[in-house]
Point group: C2
Chain length 283, copies 2
């Protein structure tokens, strides 16, 4: 225990031992992997985990392997004290904060690729991002060996990739998808929102507005993706957003589509003042 | 049970259930993954597993993902009846023979790469071989979730790659390395030896002869790899072997070396009549 009143585990061996103890009591383990700087999106995952698991474990680890060269690894926001207070308030059972220099061997060579899926959408501009995500999640699952893992649909591609990895590798874990949590004005919760200045913060609401506009267009009988994306671009660019991509795709295999239909999805990545924000919506 | 008197499990769910039952009794599980057509090399692994584990599980699965285009997947030798008789005689506890069409999803996309190591030695000519090996072994470990896995040093690069994968991915399993088992004349045991005609079978003994010759040269004060390999080539080529590679390397990271020293290793791959045989020796 510690001043925050929530048990922290900082090494792999201790984590494994704890898990084998929990397993013996036939408890269902719920796991929420995070990179810290927790917001209401993360907390909604912990709450869901509390509802349907016996023991909830949250990990906090800023995974260097999922940042590409030139991205924001070194300045990624951190506030462990605040995170622990929030987790304690939700009665989180254990927090796993692995020692940063112990997570990867200095001579790490093993990478998990979920081919095709990793190259689409965010994978086009974030080289090696998803191999970094898949590899760290697999490592964490091998240490925490959970029954349920809770992930937000804000990172939609990430969820689809990890579900495919779990199925392809016969991992005995199930992902529980949780809906995107938004600020009152619709901006999807993200640790990176903290980078935004007040004015730009307001302009960033154009992302969710554009996604809702797309949904409206579909319901008004305009399913042509080209047409829909043209109008989305206008909404975002008029607020100063620099679009990385806007894409409509099949929700299962992330296959690009020309015509929207019920259940298909639109995702986007947009830079505001150099900060890359993502969001997506189900049609 | 069945006519062979050894319990066979043919699906993942049943295997998982059995494992969780074994785990509850705190038994140590020993696992021997094979592609069947068992010989004394495999049996030595099973024997070692019997010695130091409580429950021994052998898998038989010819993994298509580790055969490259144009290799011998379709004609890889099989004899399940004989395999089961041999395994019964060694009092194997369970044999896992997954249904062939159930092991990989038809839309399998997830591959494990152990970079650098996978491209050396056999990786140079067998494209994608080691990603196939790493992926199937990870899948099997996720189903069988063993404490100990038994592997022969005949496939030396495979052992080094899988040890690195296990360490990098934090898998809770330990590889027990077992020595290469040889025919009386020195030829390393291999399922592929069954392809050889009687004359060629005799010529193939030149592989082990050349490896021993290398060791002798080192002990006689000739550590220069160039010199050693020159003489090895003469021994093998005089018997009609077509050399794929002969390489001397550091035993830990498979780094090519120019001078032999105690503990370094020489490995080779040679075609006899189109059949690719491998062997290696510790200096």
């Amino acid at each position: 225990m510690n001043k925050h009143g929530v048990p922290i585990i900082d090494n792999k061996a201790e984590m494994r031992e704890l898990i084998s103890h929990i397993r013996k009591n036939n408890n269902i383990i719920g796991f929420v992997p995070t990179m810290g700087y927790l917001h209401k999106g993360h907390l909604s995952l912990v709450q869901k985990a509390k509802e349907i698991s016996d023991i909830v474990i949250v990990s906090i680890y800023v995974n260097p392997a999922q940042f590409s060269q030139g991205e924001d690894l070194s300045r990624y926001p951190r506030n462990i004290d605040h995170d622990l207070t929030l987790l304690k308030n939700l009665h989180t059972d254990y927090v796993f904060i692995p020692q940063e220099d112990k997570m990867y061997d200095p001579d790490h060579k093993t990478w998990v690729h979920v081919t095709e899926l990793e190259d689409k959408l965010c994978g086009k501009s974030r080289k090696d991002h998803f191999r970094g995500v898949a590899t760290i999640v697999l490592k964490l699952l091998n240490i925490v060996s959970t029954d349920l893992m809770f992930m937000g649909e804000k990172d939609y591609q990430q969820v689809v990739i990890l579900e495919k990895m779990i199925s392809d590798l016969d991992l005995p874990v199930k992902i529980i998808r949780c809906p995107t949590i938004r600020e009152e004005d619709g901006l999807a919760m993200s640790s990176r929102n903290s980078y935004l200045s007040p004015e730009i913060r307001i302009n960033a609401t154009s992302l969710y507005q554009s996604l809702n506009h797309a949904k409206d267009m579909f319901h008004k009988g305009i399913p042509e993706v080209k047409e829909v994306i043209r109008e989305m671009r206008i909404i975002i660019e008029s607020k100063g957003g620099k679009i990385d991509y806007i894409e409509a795709f099949d929700s299962k295999i992330l296959q690009q589509i020309d015509h929207l239909s019920k259940g298909s999805r639109i995702a986007l990545a947009v830079f505001f003042d150099g900060i890359r924000l993502i969001d997506n919506i189900e049609i």
